[in-house]
């Protein structure tokens, strides 16, 4: 079963227990699978501390 279908069933179960009937949901089950990203390689990244609110930034070495 696809992840989307499992999520949809779980949400339906929750709503059913609260409402006593099926909920009408947006399309949690998209009816298709995403085409996976075409991974072609790797890059080196280095994580360094920063003084900013977000604790770290990423330096792409190459």
């Amino acid at each position: 079963m696809q992840t989307g279908a499992r999520e949809a069933e779980q949400v339906q179960r929750e709503w059913r227990s609260r409402l006593g009937h099926e909920a009408v949901l947006p399309t949690l089950e998209p009816g298709y699978r995403h085409v996976p990203l075409n991974i072609v390689g790797t890059i080196k990244v280095r994580y360094v501390k920063t003084e900013r609110l977000m604790p770290r930034r990423i330096i792409v070495d190459e």
């Binding site: 009408v24 947006p26 298709y32 995403h34 085409v35 075409n38 072609v40 790797t42």
Partner: protein
């Protein structure tokens, strides 16, 4: 059967980006897992994917440099999509997409052969990536001649994206009329 069609796309070049720009072979970093041992400062490997992407950020935001990042979706040739979703090769599936009944997908005619529906392209709204504007501008320029979706196909595309994003789930509804 052949018939004349208004072209969906216009050729463009240069750095200027607009909604509906098709950016082929765009390298994008992919972080599958959180980084390990952040403190040691050692370089770590991150995956790189090549994506065929179409811009979904609004043109007015791009023109006025209002955004540092651009949102894009993957766009596929039908055989590529069918290789992952074999049921779409069957009768009637693409017709439901063409009629706008599959919220996450949107069909666009081929830039070079619009009358052949098998050469159409499909956009997957369910997989959105965001990349720095400056990075994309340079990639766009490096591509040379590239395709830009033109009006009114652009607005139709934009509306389909909006419709996908603004879906609302209801806890209950009026019972169906049967």
């Amino acid at each position: 059967v052949s018939f004349l069609m208004t072209p969906f796309w216009v050729s463009t070049t240069g750095q200027a980006l607009a909604q509906g720009d098709l950016l082929a072979d765009c390298p994008l970093p992919v972080f599958r897992l959180p980084p390990q041992n952040l403190e040691n400062g050692q370089p770590q490997d991150a995956l790189v994917a090549l994506g065929n992407l179409i811009v979904v950020t609004q043109s007015c935001d791009l023109e006025n440099d209002k955004t540092d990042f651009v949102a894009l979706c993957q766009i596929h040739a039908l055989p590529v999509f069918e290789s992952i979703n074999p049921e779409f090769a069957g009768r009637g599936k693409w017709e439901t997409v063409r009629k706008g009944r599959v919220e996450g997908l949107h069909l666009l005619a081929s830039p070079t052969n619009p009358a052949d529906n098998r050469e159409a392209l499909v956009v997957d709204f369910g997989m959105i990536v965001s990349l720095p504007t400056e990075y994309l501008k340079q990639h766009a320029e490096r591509l040379g001649p590239r395709w830009r979706l033109q009006s009114p196909f652009l607005e139709h595309f934009s509306q389909a994206f909006a419709r996908f994003f603004m879906r609302v789930g209801l806890p209950s509804t009026i019972p169906p009329f049967t």
